[in-house]
Symmetry: C2
Subunit: 87 residues, 2 copies
């Protein structure tokens, strides 16, 4: 398994496409930010499918971190995932 | 040194505050996303100062990753940092 953080920059009226897709794999932690642990196969699916969702002027960055233990997460201010698992 | 990714969720008319601050330390890679290598001292400064910039309904997440070598970054679509250094 690997730990990934996905951030995306899309037109406001199109973000639902990405939201509905990424929710199947990851936790929605902030406006255009998802994170979670996935298999390498899921990561490949996420890479390929996000590409099909983007218009030319939009982008996604996927940070693949070898393992959760390398990531330390600080939330400042309101945390929309209060009820979800933390790192 | 440590590698950090900072994402923030603020009202559109207030994001310039965060942008101008984080630019002193990090690379602006996407709409509300910065990343880069910083000292532990800088990280502490970033944690403390971002807290003062936020309104109650806004948030920042700081991912601290032990070293760049643990992070693999995939950009899909338009990369606003084309001219900058990649991981």
């Amino acid at each position: 398994m690997v730990y990934i953080i996905v951030v995306y920059d899309m037109r406001a009226d199109r973000t639902r496409l990405m939201l509905n897709f990424l929710r199947k794999y990851l936790t929605h932690v902030q406006n255009s930010v998802f994170e979670g642990e996935v298999t390498e196969g899921d990561l490949e699916t996420i890479r390929n499918h996000t590409q099909t969702l983007l218009n030319p002027d939009e982008s996604t960055i996927i940070y693949r971190i070898g393992s959760e233990k390398y990531v330390d997460r600080t939330v400042i201010g309101e945390d929309p995932t209060d009820e979800s698992r933390f790192l």
